[in-house]
């Protein structure tokens, strides 16, 4: 164990020294070239290490994954579109796609709404209370999906009949005269998936609150004063004056949450292991690759996921451009 720590420390020192040396060397090499060439290649030299790393670990593998999606289980023989045909004719996979659709349709909207609500409320109560309330809502952002799953067990857990309830949800249901349920097994109306979504909304609201709150603070005071003078009440103030001015941030939070939710994986793994109709694309990839050792199918699934994210990628790039042109 001490050896592990020493190895880690040594690697940090070596890593820093090596990367320092690398850039120093690159800069020296550039300096050896004639002036007019230096101008052209200096930036590229500074970008080179990042570009190499990104190519090796992200860009080239992305293309390879796309290629593998047309190959068989072992990833060695061409099978054309077979993987895709198999997936799209498999009711179970269609159910997975439907789950992803539900996640995307529900979670971002609720996360943004909850963030807006908390941000608006905390903006009214003065700095001390604002800080405390925000910290507590934001806290789940710092913990892992696996930890979140363990935390929510103490809400969702069900016990065999006759045992005392130790899950809060069932205790509440019983107290209200209802019948205890095995929540994670409830596939009707995808109730179990909806309960998983609650966890992510719980996790992500802090993020949405923080961004929206800082946008609200950026709304010019004059616009609010002017509306007040004209006799607007606080509801009108919010809908007509504040919301339109922070709309860009709201949309950006929405899209960011959407992307997070598209890739959702850990929470499904930890809560249900993908059983009882709760699987999603991110989890199904894990299932096919690590448990079924099916390279072709796993690659096809993750290619579909990536293709679904591409339009969002386009929106993000556009948002970045807009933000920059405002500067």
């Amino acid at each position: 164990m001490i050896a592990d720590v020493l190895f880690g420390l040594m690697s940090i020192v070596l890593g820093i020294a090596a990367s320092y040396g690398l850039y120093w060397g690159l800069d020296r090499l550039v300096n050896l070239t004639p002036e007019h060439i230096q101008k052209k290649i200096r930036a590229l030299a500074y970008l080179l290490p990042a570009a190499v790393l990104l190519s090796l670990v992200l860009i080239v593998p992305l293309i390879q994954t796309f290629v593998y999606s047309f190959m068989n289980q072992a990833g060695k023989k061409w099978v054309g579109l077979d993987n895709y045909i198999e997936l799209f004719t498999d009711p179970q996979f269609l159910s997975i796609l439907f789950n992803n659709f539900l996640w995307v349709a529900i979670v971002p909207a609720f996360t943004v709404a909850a963030g807006l609500l908390v941000a608006t409320l905390t903006n009214q109560v003065g700095p001390t209370r604002e800080k405390i309330f925000k910290s507590l809502i934001f806290m789940p952002m710092s913990i892992s999906f696996v930890s979140a799953a363990t935390i929510w067990q103490f809400i969702y857990i069900d016990v065999p009949p006759g045992r005392p309830e130790i899950g809060l949800l069932n205790a509440i249901v019983r107290a209200l005269g209802g019948e205890a349920q095995s929540w994670m097994l409830m596939t009707e109306f995808r109730l179990n998936s909806l309960l998983l979504m609650v966890i992510i909304i719980w996790l992500q609201t802090g993020f949405s609150m923080v961004l929206i709150s800082s946008a609200i603070k950026g709304v010019p005071e004059e616009t609010i004063e002017a509306a007040r003078v004209d006799g607007a009440n606080s509801v009108q103030l919010f809908w007509r004056i504040v919301l339109p001015q922070i709309w860009g941030t709201v949309m950006s939070v929405f899209v960011t949450t959407l992307i997070t939710v598209m890739k959702i994986f850990d929470i499904v793994l930890a809560m249900t292991g993908g059983a009882f109709d709760t699987s999603v694309l991110g989890f199904q990839f894990y299932q096919e690759y690590f448990l079924n050792a099916n390279v072709g199918a796993a690659s096809a699934i993750v290619t579909i996921l990536t293709l679904l994210i591409v339009p969002l990628m386009y929106i993000q790039i556009r948002t970045v451009r807009q933000q920059e042109s405002l500067r």
Binding site: F7, G8, G15, I16, S19, Y20, W24, D27, K40, R42, A43, Y46, L47, P49, L53, L54, L58, I59, P61, L62, Q64, T65, Y68, G75, L117, L121, Q124, V125, S135, L136, I137, M139, P140, S142, I143, S144, V146, S147, A149, T150, W152, F154, I155, I157, P164, I166, L168, A171, W202, V210, I259, K263, D266, A270, G282, Y289, L305, T306, I309, M313
Partner: protein, 288 residues
């Protein structure tokens, strides 16, 4: 003189009450975990955790669960493993990202816009999309050269560092764009080289952004399951161990709670101590 009602209105009673309600709902799950971690096996199995809150003095509080998970389940070893995975994964990408961001921000070159658009695009690509070929590649390297990057720390460092680059470059460039351009131009006129400007001006001025990224990345790696599961399976990290514990809930929920508690401590400390930086990192990198 303010009347009583004016004071009441200034106090924002309605908003405060509503917020207290929301915060209570938000905190209930975490409280359940914290309470259960300190209960004995019997009481955790035989009564709801909320009953312990109703009668805190009549409980047989216990730290037995912590003993169990730290020694029997080697949560302590996992804690060390997680630190050894997380710290280098946080430190190593910083310089690489900083140089790239510097080039993107201050140096004119052909294709700058396109390259940067690629970086932004890579931020949102699911990392699962790269995993199969990377794993195969590392296996091939092992077969041909005997160097194994799988199963131990370096593989995870490499992956985390590389996957962090797009976000790091994005955050740092956003920040560097706010630095005074005139200062850099003045340094150029005084004859400073681009390399000197990077070390003497840009890096020192970018410390807040570097800190934001470092905290963001540290928490990200600390909380990661997938990369650790694939690349450091011989040195299980805490998320991995916690998932196992969750599978053994038959041994008692107090163990699950205690294990989770141990894995939460560091993120919570980092979060409450450095919240300002974390929030800034989040705001700056809100595209991921």
């Amino acid at each position: 003189m303010k009347t009583f009602f004016q004071r009441l209105r200034d106090f924002k009673l309605g908003s405060t009450l509503l917020l207290i309600l929301l915060v209570a709902i938000w905190s209930i799950p975490t409280i359940g975990l914290l309470v259960t971690a300190f209960r004995s096996k019997d009481s955790a199995a035989n009564s709801g955790w909320w009953t312990a809150l109703a009668d805190p003095l009549g409980q047989d509080w216990s730290i037995e669960a912590f003993n169990t998970v730290l020694s029997r389940d080697d949560m302590f070893g996992s804690f060390v493993n997680t630190v050894v995975v997380a710290v280098p994964s946080t430190v190593l990408p910083i310089l690489i990202a900083a140089f790239a961001a510097y080039a993107f921000t201050f140096i004119e070159f052909r294709g700058r816009e396109i390259y940067f658009a690629i970086v932004v695009a890579l931020m949102v690509v699911p990392l699962q999309a790269a995993l199969v070929p990377v794993v195969r590649g590392l296996r091939a390297i092992k077969e041909t050269t005997g160097i194994s990057l799988m199963g131990n720390y370096p593989g995870a460092w490499l992956m985390h560092a590389a996957f962090a680059l797009p976000l790091a470059i994005y955050i740092l460039r956003n920040y560097m764009m706010t630095l005074p351009m005139a200062l850099i131009e003045a340094a150029r006129i005084d004859g400073a080289s681009w390399y000197q400007i990077f070390w003497k001006l840009v890096m020192p001025m970018s410390v807040p952004a570097l800190a934001s990224f470092a905290i963001f990345q540290f928490l990200w790696v600390w909380n990661d399951y997938l990369i650790a599961f694939i690349f450091v399976d011989s040195k299980p990290v805490m998320t991995y161990r916690l998932l196992r514990l969750l599978g053994q809930y038959g041994d008692g929920w107090q163990n699950v709670a205690a294990g989770s508690f141990i894995s939460l401590i560091v993120p919570l400390i980092v979060f409450f101590a450095l919240q300002r930086f974390f929030v800034r990192g989040l705001t700056a990198g809100s595209v991921k």
